[in-house]
Symmetry: D2
Subunit: 266 residues, 4 copies
């Protein structure tokens, strides 16, 4: 059994941006983003009547090994109180307009939990989320453009996350994310995406930090229907399985070994 927590923003689904959540944001930006999230409500409802994450979550729930908890930034403690975090084996993260609203202190708690063994699956715009950037140590920058045709190529077909996935998936519409993608060299680069507009992107990558495993996967724009796609669902499900911890570490001590192994064995 894998305790999966899916955290997401929810702002665009409900069309509400709370002023207190983004205290650092200028009034002008706040107005812009408020209008933006309002403008998305209807479009998202059309594409995802059950919500973006609702749709994904419904698909993942079919896996009998997953015990899924849904949470969002509007809930207590930005959706991740300590007790929930400490009882999460794999944290799935979808964020977009509220990246800066997540406090540094929460991001650092997530980093520590990953270093202890928790898996972290970063979806789509989470490339600029604090937990992702703080885990990787890079900025996560890239290029983007809304609504392009996308082909996801499997470049590492023997990887567990790619099992049962065809060599290429066509997505009629997805946000274009383009190289250069500012991430450390991946342990494994599993997928590379092609966009009709002319760009490429390392759209599926893995890293490890401490005892924890990290999987980034690009598809998941809120107004593109790709979380309905069974292959995309399968990849994310297999990403969760892959990222599930083999073992947890308890602490981050630097022990002083006063008595050396050699002195003990002689």
């Amino acid at each position: 059994m894998i305790r999966v927590t899916i955290w997401y923003e929810y702002a665009q689904e409900i069309g509400v941006l709370k002023r207190e959540m983004v205290p650092g944001m200028s009034d002008k930006d706040f107005e812009f983003f408020s209008d933006f999230v309002k403008s998305r409500v209807e479009r998202i409802k059309e594409v995802y009547p059950k919500g973006l994450i609702g749709t994904l979550s419904e698909a993942l729930e079919k896996d009998p090994e997953f015990r899924i908890t849904l949470t969002n930034i509007y809930e207590k403690d930005y959706g991740l109180p300590d007790e929930l975090l400490e009882n999460t084996d794999v944290l799935v993260w979808w964020s977009h307009v509220l990246q800066d609203a997540v406090p540094d202190s929460l991001a650092m708690k997530i980093v520590k939990r990953v270093q202890k063994g928790m898996g972290f699956v970063a979806l789509h715009s989470a490339h600029k989320s604090k937990p992702f950037m703080y885990l990787l140590g890079t900025s996560g920058t890239l290029k983007w453009r809304e609504d392009d045709f996308c082909r996801v190529w499997t470049v590492n077909p023997a990887h567990p996350i790619a099992q049962g996935i065809p060599e290429m998936i066509e997505l009629q519409e997805e946000e274009m994310y383009g190289e250069p993608f500012d991430v450390p060299k991946p342990d494994d680069n599993i997928f590379i995406s092609w966009y009709r507009g002319g760009e490429v992107f390392r759209s599926g990558c893995t890293w490890t930090r401490g005892y924890g495993k990290i999987f980034y996967f690009q598809p998941g724009h809120e107004t593109s229907p790709n979380y309905h796609n069974p292959y995309i669902q399968k990849i994310i499900g297999q990403g969760i399985h892959w990222a599930a911890p083999t073992v947890y570490r308890e602490n981050f001590d630097c022990p002083n070994i006063l008595t050396s192994p050699e002195s003990l064995c002689k």
Copy 2:
């Protein structure tokens, strides 16, 4: 000063396939390939009046640090007598229809020389050359299609090989090479190519073997004009600089350390 040896097939430039070079080839295949190399002569002459490698070599010769030797499979010892190999710092390799004509014994000598420190720059179809496959330990398989529009994206802009190269190079015509590319995970993946037909390819990759450095770079189809392109020339030149040895090792002994360091220092 870097002693650069550029080895290439030459068969298509002169339109001649020698029977004794490919004793293992069936008569039918020999006939097919003989016709094929003949059919290319005129087309290559149009695109490269000085020859494919002649053009590349002319560009590289402008670098005052390079002392270049051109050689081909029709020369003595398949173009690489021991003395030449032993006096090569970076071996540039372009091969295509005669991959199997290179004897295993020569391929293994090249492997040993790379392990000792020589750089190896594999161009275009050299992904299926024996030295490349024996160095990497993989099959080098990929997809292909002649004559597509290609965009080479720089995904590792801080790498020495990418200096002075724009974030994207457009090639009006290049052979499409598509993923999955069967190579071990690269130390660095510097370029990824986009093809208008829909494929992607990790077109610039590096590895190390022993003391030697290896750079693979995809552009260089014999009937596409890309070795006239200053950026492609620059990338190959920088690849040679990058692959130049820092130091050579002399032998491959496994010494028996009868006297341990500890017994010596007490």
Copy 3:
């Protein structure tokens, strides 16, 4: 169920070196090695009454997922006829004095089989075996000295191969293998060994080649009792599980994609 084939030399156990096996060996060397293998028979019998590989195999057989076949270089086709190789999921390889007796053709068949997905677990002196060197593309050279005290440190405690293994294992006697170890940079370096004589060694490393996974593990000198050690047995067993294929590829074609994906989808 994992079809495990354990291949080993057997020469030292029976004290017999066959002249026809090492045609390239000089008469003087043949005499030396003949005497050497004879001289080992009694010592190995003392340490391993059931044989070195007999002991290891007996331990591994307790794993209900393994279906183990034992074979050695004295059997038909050097112990690895095509049918056996094609029905092996993980090949465990222990070799020492007869590295050169294995024909190149067999080594290349093993390489191809690994590229298709078969796992390869190289034990102890297999660092100089042909399959290992041809898969990695390096020489496998190192330093050595018989009979030293060894401490195997776990440096990657979250790796599947390290589960249930303490942070350090003490081996009262093992052959010293010392750095520099001429291998490509490992995907994962799981164990590093400390020797009382003063050396260190990356004693547990993994790589991938094509669809296949490779694990090298150092302990296993024929006259040291470490294959009786439950932790060493556990590591090798977990190495086999880790190296078991996720999927096989069928062939090594480079398909010509005459019809591009784009032309198909428009």
Copy 4:
């Protein structure tokens, strides 16, 4: 010319711990550490009459390519005002008892500067410094014990940082740092250390983050004389050369590419 800034704590050299520097420290801990830094003054003076960093810096200054600035935590803005940081090509960092005194805001500025291209050379106890941990995304934990005999083995002899360094350096006394070392898998592991007490440690490792290069090197305990050792000096100097930027990036934008490359070229 490489603008090298060497930042260090200085607390133990002057024997003074300032209360305002460590506001989060408990009174008891403050008393303990105050006594500790006082107790070191004489011992450091004996080993390093010119100071630990004074000695290192004097050696590095012989390199005509280095323009060195020395700074410490007692100076303005914790020794790293924006103007100095923005004019540093390679930052060398030595820290120990005051890791937590460095504000998060300064650590994050250093991270950003590395992502832009600045090199970062972390010495000895800097494995627990904030800039190091925030760049790598791991905790940097390890084992330790004062005053052991240490052998530094070169395991990657072709790496630029290892040029001219013997295969092994003996240090009569160094602090033991032992595995497991909680860092992401290094791009290159250049040195592994052996300690007479029984431990091993990956004592020389490199990573990249964004455009910047990172080198960690273990020797440098404040009361061990190893910064007098010409080989240790040479390794650190070569580490600075290796980490020097090839190119800087200017910003961390995620540009919206409204006009696709394809629409531009048709």
